[in-house]
Amino acid sequence: MIEKILAQEKIIEINSLVKDFKKLRAVNNLNLSVYKGDVFGFLGPNGAGKSTTIRMLLSLIRQTSGNINLFGNPISSDRKNILAKIGAIVEKPDFYGYLSAYKNLEILGKLTGKEISKSKIMQVLELVGLDSRFDSKVKTFSHGMKQRLGLAQSLLHDPELIILDEPTTGLDPQGMKEIRDLITYLSKEKGKTLFLSSHILHEVELVANRMIIINKGSAKVEGDVKDLLNAKKLKVSFEVDDEQRVKELIWQSGWKEKFESNTKSVFIFSLENHEISQLNKYLVDNNISISAVIPKRSLEDYFLKITEEAS
């Protein structure tokens, strides 16, 4: 894994990034690296500093200190060349409401400095399912449609890096699935690098290969999504019918080492994956009726905790 990472080209490299808004430190000594071909999940609760970081990546705001390198060059000194290789949605996608979807894309296409053909504009509109509404004014669009149009504008100039800030916000489940499918398509079929911010762990888990969790502007956890989410230890809740009997069984056996806590009839154990079925069998063999077994990954618990704190 390490050799693989070392061999890969760094598309985004952030070192010791800090952003202060007067007395508020929005981003605090953040470090991260995104490699070519990554779908990188940038996870954190609302107000964690995700959008602020993305704005700094795109030079919409200046960092207080630290370095941002994109495609190997500092964004501050090579802004135009770097932005030519990036497509982005920053927070909610806003457009010129008095213009049509097509005209908005045409204007944004011209700003990229590349010749964007009519067929290319229609192609990206088709990709996001808006080709039939190409001539409608954007002010008539729902939030979900604007979100799709935001995605379309980010793909318009065929960028190498696509930065998506909460791209599924406001979408219905079907719309969310379509966006996830599109992200997978862009990554797998087109070889794009994606930087995906979200406050939903499950969403990142479904599409990303690497991720970072930030909270209060600082990185908390970073690594391979599979490694982080399939960590050996799981917190498993067993909902049983006989609380007293289960307590006795636990204290008589080696399972007391794995026991963490209980709330009435719900017992929580810290188990490895293969131990779940063993404990289940042990309890059933001792005539305990089990109504639910709910495994929870410790990262999920952790993320839930910081999300609750933030809200």
Partner: protein
């Protein structure tokens, strides 16, 4: 840069607020022309009643030139308000709509954005003055015909021959466009500071009103600095209807205007290049 200016002009002329100025000027000019058509001769007779005892007036005094001159005299001071409707929205409108995020994440420098928007604003301003010229002078000449222009300037009546009038109007309209460009530059500056177009509109008008009041105060300090206020020259287009035209005064006015435009624009550029885009 040309593409960027075209985009900005396209956006400006796709907004209905852009046409408020054109409609307002068109309606006002029409109303004034209708009024002059029916009562203009009586008005001229009233204002010239004293000198008619000593002079005999021949020819068409109520002509397109006189009507255009009077219209410009009435409207020039009010046009800044119409200009701020668009100029105040040039940058603040992007912030309000949230579209800064879209355009500033493209490979275009902030300097290019500022230049293209400012140039588009100046073109809009020039077109508004051109519309004033076309609607008042061209239409006036069609309706009222030509003739000599009688102007009362500092209690002195000056009569310009027909062949000596048109260039004065063209120069006056050009000068007015420059004056209004200062207003555009000021509104543009305020527009770069806020996220709502109402602020720049009110702020620009407030600055104009404050400076006009300060200029009018009969206090030596203000009288000394008055020549440096751009508001002092909002009606200086009339210099072209002096005989002879005081070129040194015209040049001074143009210099003060240009310095203001350069100062306001440079400050806008400086602030915008450093601005954190949070909208």
């Amino acid at each position: 840069m040309l593409t960027l200016v075209q985009i900005e002009l396209y956006k400006i002329f796709k907004k209905w607020r852009t046409y408020i100025g054109f409609i307002a000027i068109g309606v006002l000019v029409l109303v004034i022309q209708i009024a002059f058509k029916y009562e203009g001769q009586d008005t001229i007779n009233y204002f010239t009643r004293n000198i008619r005892q000593s002079f005999v007036f021949v020819g068409n005094l109520l002509n397109g030139y006189l009507v255009a001159f009077l219209i410009m005299n009435s409207l020039a001071i009010h046009i800044p308000f119409l200009i701020t409707l668009v100029a105040g929205d040039l940058l603040a409108g992007e912030a309000t709509a949230g579209t800064y995020r879209m355009i500033l994440t493209r490979p275009v420098s902030r300097t290019q954005i500022i230049f293209s928007k400012f140039i588009a604003g100046i073109i809009y301003t020039a077109l508004l003055i051109l519309w004033l010229a076309v609607s008042s002078l061209a239409a006036g000449l069609l309706v009222f015909g030509t003739g000599e222009l009688l102007v009362l300037n500092n209690q002195i009546i000056i009569i310009f021959e027909q062949s000596d009038i048109l260039w004065r109007f063209l120069a006056a309209y050009g000068f007015a466009a420059l004056c209004m460009s200062v207003v555009t530059a000021l509104a543009f500056l305020f527009s770069s500071m806020v996220e709502n177009a109402i602020g720049p509109i009110i702020s620009t008008m407030a600055v104009i009103i404050v400076f006009v009041i300060l200029s009018a105060l009969n206090i030596e300090f203000f009288q000394n600095i008055k020549p440096y206020f751009f508001t002092n020259y909002l009606l200086s287009w009339k210099l072209f209807f002096d005989d002879p035209v005081d070129l040194s005064e015209v040049l001074k006015a143009i210099t003060v205007m240009l310095i203001h435009i350069i100062f306001f624009f440079s400050l806008t550029l400086f602030l915008f290049r450093r601005k954190d885009i949070l909208s």
